[in-house]
Symmetry: C2
Subunit: 209 residues, 2 copies
DNA sequence: TACGTTTTCAAACGAGAGTTTGAAAACGGA
DNA sequence: TCCGTTTTCAAACTCTCGTTTGAAAACGTA
């Protein structure tokens, strides 16, 4: 419980979070982490009982951070009209495109997991993602008051999918053939576009069944 | 140019395609491929000059297959009303959810690439994805006749994002907290839902700017 | 200060990856 | 059939990975 050991532990966590966010679990080596944290290689096993234990810790931190972030955000937008609440939600989902802060890193770590979920993540997800999904479901519920639960779930995922593809593929989209460069103002513009389409999409159209 | 060597080559390609689709490039080992193809380990280096060369070949095949598939599909739906054309497009994008055919495998291989694109893929993409994007852009163009090129690109990606999140995360969505099981009829239902929301979303709403 | 505990460190270990090797086998035209 | 070429094969090589080891250093308390 002494101080200096906490410092080492913290340096490892910080370095690991950055590298995991950048490259994902598999592509991040123990050696890369200790080089960045400037600690001895054995320190990871000493403090976290291996790479997986370290990752679990990083994942937990990211999860806590994101949940708090989302809950805080939900509180802020609770009083807004549904259209504005949705627009704010979309803008927040697109945040990793324009910011390189802690929250963006956490979202990036989760993005990696959507491809090949580690067992650690699967467990965390099934235990704690309910509140996450709940917030998004509530948001779309305001547009689909009479929909059943399954439709609401699909709508929530639909909403997340629209945002995540831009976040996940930013680098590729910047190149040919799309050449979509996304600076700060472009992200604002994109968020508005997506919000409008989503609001209209979920709006009770008079169209086909 | 003799026959028997072509057989070995083909067995490797078939086994590799299946494994790459299933696990992605990194998680697929040379040894797993040769075990499945029942050929000698050195055969891959002999015929393809290494794992990367083999992957390049698989990727090319997948790309050709998908492009042909999409072009054929575009021809079929060219005469349809825009709403039906879009519905058919969405249904086709969701195909890997219900089918385990060659095309679905090809789409899966590409899904892996959207996370950490291999250099091989980046090159292929920038050279040949134009026609791909073009088809999708044309589709949304029928709903947004006056939009500029950048908006059309975003709309096309938006459309792809809505579909891909369900394809990519099928397994996770099946578990808690979402518990969205997608059998054949559920996929049809999902495709209809997504189509409706998209059509309404892109439809000229009278709402906010 | 002295001593038991905690923490750091350099080095080595074993498993798994992709690749290389050189000989044996199969092939095919003369 | 014979012989140069193509193709297969088992084994070994090299590299990187995560982990382990055992001693040295730092620490905190009596």
């Amino acid at each position: 419980m002494t101080r200096p050991s906490e410092i080492t532990r913290d340096r490892i966590l910080k370095a690991a979070e950055r590298l995991f966010a950048e490259r994902g679990y598999d592509a991040t080596s123990i050696r890369a982490i200790v080089a960045r944290a400037r600690v001895n290689q054995a320190a990871i096993n000493y403090h976290f009982e291996g790479k997986e234990g370290l990752y679990r810790e990083v994942l937990r931190t990211a999860f806590r951070g994101l949940t708090e972030d989302q809950i805080a955000h939900a509180d802020e937008t609770a009083g807004l009209p549904r259209e504005e609440a949705l627009a704010a939600f979309v803008r927040r989902q697109l945040r990793p495109l324009s910011a390189r802060d802690e929250t963006s890193r956490h979202m990036r770590i989760f993005n990696w997991e959507t491809v090949r979920p580690t067992p650690v993540f699967r467990k965390l997800l099934s235990e704690e993602a309910a509140s996450f999904m709940g917030l998004t479901t509530n948001l779309v519920h305001r547009f689909l008051p009479e929909a059943d639960q399954r439709t609401l779930s699909v709508a929530a995922i639909w909403l997340l999918g629209q945002c995540s593809i831009f976040v996940r593929n930013r680098e590729q989209l910047a190149g040919p053939p799309v050449s979509l460069e996304l600076d700060e103002t472009a992200v604002d513009w994109l968020a508005q576009l997506l919000s409008r389409w989503t609001v209209q999409g979920l709006g009770t159209g008079f169209g086909r069944a």
